[in-house]
Symmetry: C2
Subunit: 354 residues, 2 copies
Amino acid sequence: MQPLVNDRYLRALLRQPVDETPVWMMRQAGRYLPEYRDVRTQAGDFMSLCRNPELACEVTLQPLRRYALDAAILFSDILTIPDAMGLGLTFGQGEGPRFARPVTCLRDVQQLPVPDPEDELRYVMDAVRTIRSALQGKVPLIGFAGSPWTLATYMVEGGSSKTFTRIKQMMVREPEILHALLAKLADSVCLYLNAQVAAGAQSLMIFDTWGGVLSTPAYRAFSLDYMARIVAGLTRESEGRPVPVTLFTKNGGQWLEAIADTGCDAIGLDWTVDLADARRRVGHRVALQGNMDPAMLYASASGIEQEVARILAEFGPGNGHVFNLGHGIAQDVDPAQPTHFVDAVHRLSRPYHR
Amino acid sequence: MQPLVNDRYLRALLRQPVDETPVWMMRQAGRYLPEYRDVRTQAGDFMSLCRNPELACEVTLQPLRRYALDAAILFSDILTIPDAMGLGLTFGQGEGPRFARPVTCLRDVQQLPVPDPEDELRYVMDAVRTIRSALQGKVPLIGFAGSPWTLATYMVEGGSSKTFTRIKQMMVREPEILHALLAKLADSVCLYLNAQVAAGAQSLMIFDTWGGVLSTPAYRAFSLDYMARIVAGLTRESEGRPVPVTLFTKNGGQWLEAIADTGCDAIGLDWTVDLADARRRVGHRVALQGNMDPAMLYASASGIEQEVARILAEFGPGNGHVFNLGHGIAQDVDPAQPTHFVDAVHRLSRPYHR
């Protein structure tokens, strides 16, 4: 493998000095890019794109050609694991994901296999290998997975939900079933992420999109504990370098101390969190990633610049900040806009790293 | 008017001693009750029920007949104000609200009237008067309104939203239009709430359902500042008693200090907030209302009891707690369940008030 040319992102996650604050965008390979939509059409449906390592590699690299991003993220979906477990995943036209066979009882959980990453999920590992090779050491490659709780919400609800009625009913009536499911998912995610590292991922991120719908004790018991279990089981070094781990719980701003306690290297923050406050609370223990409202990409160039300046000032001078959006980029953003964002982060952050 | 028999709720909001922690449930008059569904069918559509003072009174009183609740809340909707402004509100079958004429530009905002509460919204005031009289002083009556930001989201999006794309585009591109809209809404809400007090409401609550989708500075500028403006303009005494004001921002747990700064009497908390932590932060300045996850009403009687006990212990001994759910009760809850909840709050809270 070629040596890494730009390691700002990895250094910032380890709270080491950098020349400029590194930046990438959640969902940076996505529908806002016309070249992505072309490849997507070529692939057919969304999962076919995920399952094709060459096309997954192509869309992973697309945003890097347009913007001076400091990291690439594997193009895939958090639902590859439940899909590999045999729940029958489909994405309807303009709809969210659907599972043909949702999990409803203990028997369902017991029958779920723990997928072998180099077998049922080999297409993901092939994508990691293909992308890593194609990157030629330009920037590091991020591997990722969904958190057990977040995956479980889709598996129990049978798809997206607003109210999380089914999984919450399971949680309050039959918590042992949910714990069995979460334990199996934690094992599966751990194997999956370690296989991504073996295949070439240089950093890992766990997306806990729905942990924020839980009460504090339920968050700890049903989401955070399983993420902590995964963090404890991850390969933390590869190719002679640390492999930093970032945990991101959307709407988890109140639990930063507990998230830092898992032993992760960095915490992803949504845009509702005050970054100065977050740094005061946990910045001596972990790096922080975030946290511009993706809606700011609808603003003028100078509006974006002002918001970037505000967020940089909020974090202040010193190490341990990876700039990002607080959530995925919206699909109707003009592809000219991220240029203003990425360039502003690099240019305006220099004084903070002198 | 008859003297108030049970004033626990009002006393708790003012952080005065009580014998038991008062309790009510957001959306306590609602579809989970078969008797509500009967009246709703009789009324026709949802807004016809809101517009009929006798039927609105009937559904307001229904939950009080079943459960030992310490407060009644006016049956109405937060969208009465935009409806009275002429935006053409409808509720489709099984859908959310829709506005036929959403607000898109400054001209739209300038043409919006500030509704006269005793004219276009007289049906609400008549409902307040009817309910207040029917309550015969049994428990206090809560009046309410939506926050300007929350009302604006529906008015600009034309209905419910997941992404708030339109209003956020307005916020970042043409903030002056949004400020004009919010200022007009703040004036309208203030008039509306003061009219409710004049008609007999004994406490007021402002629901900021969507403030939590904003960044910290945007929350202050576009939501909290307008709620503060309303609080400053409210009638705070009536019939020789204080009229306490509660502000509730869903997903606003990070901003409690700033919310307390508005001069409100109490803060409503969703279930993601740690109550002990909230009390430490602002409990010397305001009362706290909340905060059981409504999904706990799917649990067994003993499960509900345990959760009530946990939340009571989290708040601890002393004054200033109104028990509630962290959000509205779900429509598929068995009507037998709230009995366990309400009774557990009363029974288990006694030791904390000795």
